[in-house]
């Protein structure tokens, strides 16, 4: 089935998310939609999928104009979507998830789960997925969940398949397998839209490439174009994909983790015998696919994890057993992985967010009272220093763009006397300009002689930022290697193969 989008425009208030976007995808073709975060890719696909209504333009399937009032109609017309954030219900079984919305029934609306199971098995076998239809989805690994999502799209006989940033959560190996699945689907005659901002993947599978920037199509590119060419089209200016940093000037070994084990609330062990050390003036990257214990490791360092054994020390002071407050006081700067959830109070102003960790300390507090004047002056200063783009220090955090939110977090964390900086996925979801800014700040912190720990899920960021890379897999450190280790080797380590 051929898909065509003609002059799609979608506005949210004054913001134009899609501006006369046109796009054609032929059957048996993988068409890449390339663009930065916020370029309007997901909006466009939500219009296609009936979740949003376009203000202008039309959608055509095999040259017939379609009107989708909701996703149900888009699905019925043959459009399937593999969502970036899986649209799966964690407490349901695979079979229940897959049939949701078009359930096979026996008499009077009684579910026919047997038929559902058979269908799951059949599709699962056809693509070599090996999925148990009775497994509870929430208990499956992320890679398998994605396959459930793919089956869900295929089971309703979709001819047009949309993959929205599908590799964000996958290991390099799983990514390769997904690429193979996409090629297999192309072979079977599906029209595939592949949304991504990862140039490597684009170059591997794309037949055609359309680049979006600020809601507009800026042009088509060829898979044979270089990564730099694709990147500058995406960003709109020449881009230097490398991070500029000099050789590290190593000081003493300041941060040490030895034989660390940790258990979560449910009693499952999440960290196994983790050992690592970081010198002053060094960046150690913890690389790995999300969900392999990195989050828990940073939580242990922060003091947010209750059940641990082993040793974590900073400047020869033991951190385990100390409260978060005490550890922050020892000089930990912490940039959490999810800034809107753990880093900022969305309803608070920038000024209020900047003192979140020091609201009861001098000079911001005098006795039991807050000193509004001091707080405001501090905020004005940081606003300038970190180039935070906001109407004023009284803007709330949730009004800010992702990049500016991250700047607020960095401004707060770096303004204390740091002895250790821990940052989890500090550039996740940011535009290229903000990524450069964040990287520069982290390197500046390193060069000022602070030991730095970065959690990275993307290999590019790991190799660019790190002086050394520690790879985690299933709660263990698989190995600690130099930053110039080949990607294939790192990829195998991340998958637990090596």
């Amino acid at each position: 089935m051929k898909l065509e989008l003609r002059g799609i425009t979608k506005r949210f208030g004054a913001m134009v998310a899609n501006d006369k976007v046109s796009l054609t995808v032929q059957p048996g073709e993988i068409h890449c939609l390339l663009g930065e975060n916020g370029a309007g890719k997901s909006t466009l696909m939500n219009v296609l999928y009936g979740l949003y209504q376009a203000d202008e333009g039309e959608i055509l399937l095999d040259d017939e104009v379609q009107k989708f009032a909701g996703p149900g109609e888009a699905m019925a017309a043959g459009i399937g979507m593999v969502h970036q954030h899986f649209m799966l219900i964690p407490v349901f079984t695979v079979a229940e998830n897959v049939i949701l919305g078009h359930e096979p029934t026996k008499f009077g609306g009684v579910l026919d789960l047997k038929q559902a199971r058979d269908k799951v098995r059949e599709l699962s076998n056809r693509f070599g997925f090996d999925i148990d239809p009775d497994a509870i989805v929430g208990e499956l690994p992320v890679g398998v969940q994605q396959r459930v999502e793919i089956i869900k799209a295929l089971i309703s006989d979709a001819k047009v398949l949309v993959f929205d940033e599908p590799t964000a959560v996958l290991t390099p190996q799983e990514t390769d397998e997904l690429m193979a699945i996409m090629k297999q689907l192309r072979q079977a005659g599906h029209a595939i839209v592949f949304i991504t901002h990862k140039l490597r993947e684009v170059k591997e599978v794309a037949d055609r490439i359309t680049v979006l920037r600020l809601g507009k199509v800026v042009g088509e590119a060829k898979p044979t174009d270089t990564a730099e060419q694709l990147a500058s089209m995406m960003v709109g200016r020449a881009v230097d994909l490398d991070v500029n940093k000099g050789a590290p000037k190593l000081g003493k070994k300041a941060f040490v983790v030895e034989g660390l084990n940790a258990w979560n609330e449910a009693g499952t062990q999440v960290l196994f015998d983790v050992s690592l050390d970081v010198h002053e003036g060094e960046i150690l990257v913890i690389a790995g696919v999300q969900g392999n214990g990195q989050t828990e490791l940073t939580e242990v360092i922060l003091g947010a994890h209750a059940r641990t054994t082993g040793k974590v020390s900073l400047d020869d002071q033991d951190l385990l057993g100390k409260s978060i407050k005490q550890i922050l006081d020892l000089g930990l700067g912490f940039v959490p992985e999810d800034r809107t959830q753990d880093g900022l109070v969305g309803e608070f102003t920038i000024a209020e967010n900047l003192i979140l960790d020091r609201s009861d300390r001098k000079p911001f507090a005098k006795g039991p009272s807050i000193q509004p004047k001091v707080v405001r002056e501090f905020a004005q200063e940081k606003l300038k220093q970190y180039d935070i783009r906001a109407q004023s220090i009284d803007s709330t955090a949730k009004q800010l763009s992702g990049g500016n939110q991250q700047k607020v977090v960095l401004a707060r964390e770096l303004s204390r006397d740091l002895r250790l900086l821990v940052a989890s996925q500090p550039t996740r979801g940011l535009d290229v300009g903000s990524i450069e800014f964040v990287h520069d700040q982290i390197i500046a912190a390193r060069d000022s002689g602070i030991p730095v720990v970065i959690v990275a899920t993307e290999l590019d960021e790991a190799t660019q930022l790190g002086d050394r890379i520690a790879v985690m897999y299933r709660g263990k450190i698989v190995g600690i290697v130099p930053a110039d280790t080949p990607r294939t080797v790192l990829g195998q380590m991340m998958a637990g193969v090596a």
């Binding site: 922060l302 947010a304 409260s323 978060i324 407050k325 922050l328 912490f334 959490p336 959830q341 753990d342 880093g343 900022l344 109070v345 969305g346 309803e347 608070f348 209020e352 979140l356 960790d357 609201s359 009861d360 507090a365 039991p368 009272s369 807050i370 509004p372 009284d394």
Partner: protein, 384 residues
């Protein structure tokens, strides 16, 4: 710039919504009064013969009721002299005192993200402890009186703090726990009023001895008026809560917790301790309401000591948008409704429960501005 901000705030809170919501609720209340009125029912029976009678009866029922409410709540224009005429407004303030105190308590919790609907139980605990001290402790007035007030504060703080403790240590949902604690408090008071702990020795009813004279809140205008010095405690509490929420470091942490507990935790705020502190302060304010009841107006402990103030407090905190001055205004409004309802019931035979209807409607209407706008065909508020 600062002036601009104030103007914007007034525009955004849209005082008109509040005014119209109150108006709409009174209109609905008027309809109910008319429907339930015997004369109206009779007149409707022969509506087609003499429609004028129906309208006259309608007017008499509704205007009579609301006029009685005004006489009971604001100024009694039928009184012989001015001193008696202003008695109602002092009644209103006397009613407003416990309502506002408990409302402030809930406001503190709401702003901290804790849905404390346990004001009823906390008032009872405050009244119980305060009452026990005021009845049985023998001490000079300058010890006894502060001790009795403090006991109320502590009683509420314990009953509220316990909820915070449960939430901090076990993660128990505070909505469920406070609801259950309300009932537990009611039955506990009922039980203690049957035992020598609280029951008056000679009484066969579950009633305590009266509190000692030295422990009472002094009456402000003599024995003809109900308004007592607890009113000033309430005003002080308004100021305290304003400072707490807007200027204090722990208030800052309360609000941070209320908006985003995860980020608060990562920033080093001790979540568990803060839950306990929030609930203790919240409970303490309700406990003060209990003290004001027993030491100011009731004078003896009965199972009805909390009246309906636990529910009033919820609606007052919501109506006042959990801001101290808003709660004060809402508290006085509801105090007026309570005071007026007494006269309305006595003079016009309109049951005081009409107040509950008006009260809940006000909150519902305010919670849904589009509904109020639709009812009065108001234009949509343009946000700056």
């Amino acid at each position: 710039m600062k002036n601009n901000r104030i103007v914007r705030e007034i525009l955004n809170t849209s005082a008109s919504t509040t005014v119209f919501a109150v108006l709409a609720s009174f209109i609905v209340g008027g309809v109910l009064i008319a429907v339930a009125n015997q004369d109206v029912q009779t007149a409707v029976g022969y509506f087609f013969n003499r429609p004028g009678d129906t309208f006259a009866a309608l007017w008499n029922a509704v205007s009579g009721a609301y006029a009685a409410m005004f006489r009971g709540a604001i100024y009694n224009y039928n009184a012989h002299d001015f001193a008696n005429g202003i008695s109602p407004i002092t009644d209103t303030l006397a009613f407003a005192t416990p309502i506002t105190l408990a409302g402030l308590g809930l406001a503190v919790a709401f702003r901290s993200g804790l849905f404390n609907i346990g004001a009823n139980g906390q008032i009872i605990f405050g009244a119980m402890l305060s009452g026990w001290v005021a009845i049985y402790v023998q001490a000079p007035v300058y010890v006894l009186f502060p001790l009795a007030v403090l006991a109320g504060l502590v009683g509420g703080a314990i009953w509220g703090g316990l909820v915070g403790l449960l939430k901090a240590t076990t993660g128990a949902n505070e909505v469920i726990v406070t609801i259950m604690f309300n009932y537990i408090a009611v039955y506990l008071l009922g039980y203690l009023l049957k035992t020598p702990v609280l029951k008056a020795p000679q009484s066969i009813n579950p009633v305590s001895l009266p509190v000692q004279n030295d422990a009472k809140f002094p009456l402000l205008f003599g024995s003809d008026y109900r308004l007592h010095a607890g009113f000033f405690v309430m005003l002080a509490a308004v100021a305290f809560v304003w400072w707490l929420l807007n200027r204090s470091t722990i208030g800052y942490q309360f609000r941070a917790l209320g908006h985003n507990p995860d980020a608060s935790k990562v920033a080093g705020i001790n979540i568990g301790m803060t839950y306990i502190l929030v609930m203790a302060i919240s409970g303490a304010l309700s406990g003060l309401a209990g003290a004001s009841q027993i030491l100011g107006t009731e004078r003896v402990l009965t199972t009805g000591v909390a009246a309906s103030y636990g529910i009033d407090a919820i609606t007052v905190a919501l109506l006042g948008r959990s801001k101290p001055l808003g709660v004060l205004a809402a508290g006085i409004l509801f105090g007026a409704l309570r005071a007026g309802a007494v006269t309305m019931q006595a003079n016009q035979n309109v049951p005081s429960e009409i107040v509950l209807v008006v009260q809940s409607l006000i909150v519902l209407f305010i919670a849904a501005p589009p509904l109020v706008r639709a009812m009065f065909r108001l234009p949509k508020v343009v946000k700056a």
